[in-house]
């Protein structure tokens, strides 16, 4: 088995996949805690579907680098969803559901009508579930991913205390003059960036899992915000490396294998949390 792995790792694209996988897992888990606690879990889901729609448009337009279109599209959607969620005639979750299914439907429709490839369902499936696209990354994409990840991690570290303050208690933060809306906006933009990054790894349907599972697992066991955040980052990286390796060795789809690893970890942590609570 090690020989087989060594052989695989002699190929640059496998190494790229691993690097990108680790970075994405790290970034996506960081904000997971905030999203879960702010009851924003579904924003991730909605945005990923918007990203899918944007991806469809990009492929219809025959753009070689879809990221150029998908990234701004998703960021704008994130900002809009957050704004609408705040002063709502239609409630926040309903808007997200609307946007999310709408983007999915329109995306698929566009891909079907203006199809340029012979294998539409294959294309759709790989955008939705990630399939093998992580193994076909170009050097440019890897660099872009590294750069964006560094930015995300830096922003998160620098604003860690503010993010905590805004997550725990918006009213208090507002009262003492913290620009809460600006930080919420920042959180939304970072999430959009992470989602676009993560599409390569697990595909747009499974991104939410990458964002939410590590945070939920960590929250079962750990008791301070810092330890929950660190644990969810570590857990996410471990799960995605494990998932990647298994998928390479066993030939299973990358995205779903990683998510399966996350789910497994969740149940382990939930059990551990129960056991600790009983003592």
């Amino acid at each position: 088995m090690t020989a087989k792995l060594a052989l695989y790792f002699s190929y640059p694209f496998v190494r790229y996949a691993l690097i990108v996988g680790v970075l994405i897992a790290l970034c996506s888990s960081l904000l997971g805690v905030t999203l879960v606690l702010k009851r924003f879990s579904f924003i991730g889901d909605g945005l990923s579907h918007v990203a899918f729609g944007a991806m469809a448009i990009a492929s219809v337009l025959n753009l070689t680098d879809s990221m150029v279109l998908v990234l701004p599209f998703t960021v704008v959607a994130a900002v809009l969803l957050l704004r609408v969620g705040q002063n709502a005639k239609i409630k926040g979750d309903a808007v997200i559901a609307m946007v999310s299914v709408g983007a999915l439907a329109i995306g698929y429709l566009l891909m079907n009508i203006f199809s340029t490839s012979a294998n539409i369902s294959g294309d759709v499936c790989s955008t939705l579930f990630g399939s093998t696209s992580i193994l076909t990354l170009s050097l440019f994409e890897v660099r872009l991913c590294v750069a964006l990840s560094v930015v995300v991690v830096l922003v998160f570290v620098v604003f860690y205390n503010k993010i905590f303050a805004v997550t725990f208690d918006e009213s208090f933060a507002m009262a003492v003059g913290t620009p809460v809306n600006r930080y919420n906006l920042m959180i939304a933009v970072i999430i959009a960036v992470i989602i676009v990054l993560a599409m390569n790894l697990v595909g747009s349907l499974l991104i939410s899992a990458l964002v939410i599972f590590p945070a939920l697992s960590a929250m079962r066991v750990f008791k301070s915000f810092l330890s929950v955040t660190v644990c969810s980052a570590v857990l996410s990286v471990v799960c995605s490396v494990a998932g990647l390796l298994v998928s390479i060795l066993a030939g299973t789809p990358v995205g779903s294998t990683i998510v399966a690893a996350d789910i497994l970890a969740f149940f382990l942590f939930a059990a551990a949390g129960k056991a600790a609570g009983r003592q």
């Binding site: 905590f164 725990f168 003492v176």
Partner: protein, 283 residues
């Protein structure tokens, strides 16, 4: 000069006026209770004082060198907070966020301040415990410690005893009074008129009958009499097991009679205060 002066405030939202001609001030060391029925505009007033909402007309001014972000606010607890995975220390420290400004991390001075606040409220022993595992009263103390990190002068408390059992409620009131005696001005929104009349130095009653002034005058005022009596009667009825509908009718009929009850109630607060002192000395 007063720490907080509100002049001719008109409050409301979406063009609908809730409160008119509201003027009051808070001087250093005051303990002001804002009472009034649901929907009378208490929360709107609080948001206005915090500059989270603009008044429809009138002014809110801080004086005596108090800056708007130097108010220690204790909001009502949200659902999110009940199961929040954060340690007590992390939460108290977040009270320093205004001092911290754009600087990414808290400095030693701010960490020291957080420790002192926890010491002051007697929660140092569970600084590393998880917030969601604490009892309701302990959680309120944590949030109060956080508010203390944000201010040295003025605390603004939004129904701080909601959902607490009577014993813990009494402790909470003692604690607030202790802080007030240490020189921090307190503005508190409250449902509980009796506790307000017992602990506060000033009362602001908003709603049908407006009142602002020292608590002694409130007891004799129209608003004060009506309110204190209603509640006393309510309590009496509840104890006697009289159903709600009858309750209402009684109230309409028996207003003058209830006036005497209010007097008794006011006298009663004396000895009750005394026992309160005893509670305060407990560690």
């Amino acid at each position: 000069m007063a720490e907080l002066t509100c002049r001719d405030l008109v409050l409301g939202y979406d063009g609908e006026v809730l409160v008119k001609d509201l003027s009051f001030q808070v001087n250093k060391g005051d303990y002001l209770c804002i009472v009034g029925s649901n929907g009378s505009g208490k929360s709107t007033l609080m948001r206005t004082i915090l500059h989270l909402q603009a008044p429809m007309s009138g002014t809110v001014e801080y004086g005596d060198g108090l800056r708007p972000n130097e108010i220690g606010y204790l909001p009502q607890q949200t659902l999110v907070q009940r199961d929040f995975p954060a340690s007590v220390r992390e939460i108290v420290l977040s009270g320093c966020q205004a001092r911290c400004g754009l600087r990414p991390f808290y400095n030693r001075e701010e960490k020291q301040l957080a420790e002192e606040s926890m010491e002051r409220l007697g929660i140092s022993s569970f600084a590393d415990r998880c917030y969601r595992e604490l009892s309701g009263g302990q959680q309120q103390r944590v949030l109060l410690a956080r508010a203390l990190c944000a201010t040295r002068r003025l605390l603004l408390l939004d129904e701080p005893v909601t959902g607490l059992d009577p014993k813990v409620t009494a402790e909470m009131y003692q604690l607030i009074r202790k802080l007030n005696r240490e020189g921090i001005s307190v503005i508190m929104i409250s449902h509980d008129v009796h506790a307000a009349a017992k602990y506060a130095s000033h009362i602001l009653h908003i709603g049908r009958d407006m009142f602002f002034g020292p608590v002694e005058l409130y007891r004799q005022s129209k608003a004060g009499k009506r309110y204190l009596n209603l509640e006393a009667e309510d309590d009496a009825d509840r104890e006697a097991g009289i159903p709600e509908a009858g309750d209402l009718a009684d109230r309409e009929a028996g207003i003058p009679e209830a006036g005497d009850l209010a007097g008794a109630e006011a006298e009663e607060t004396g000895p009750a205060d005394g026992t309160g002192e005893g509670g305060e000395k407990r560690p």
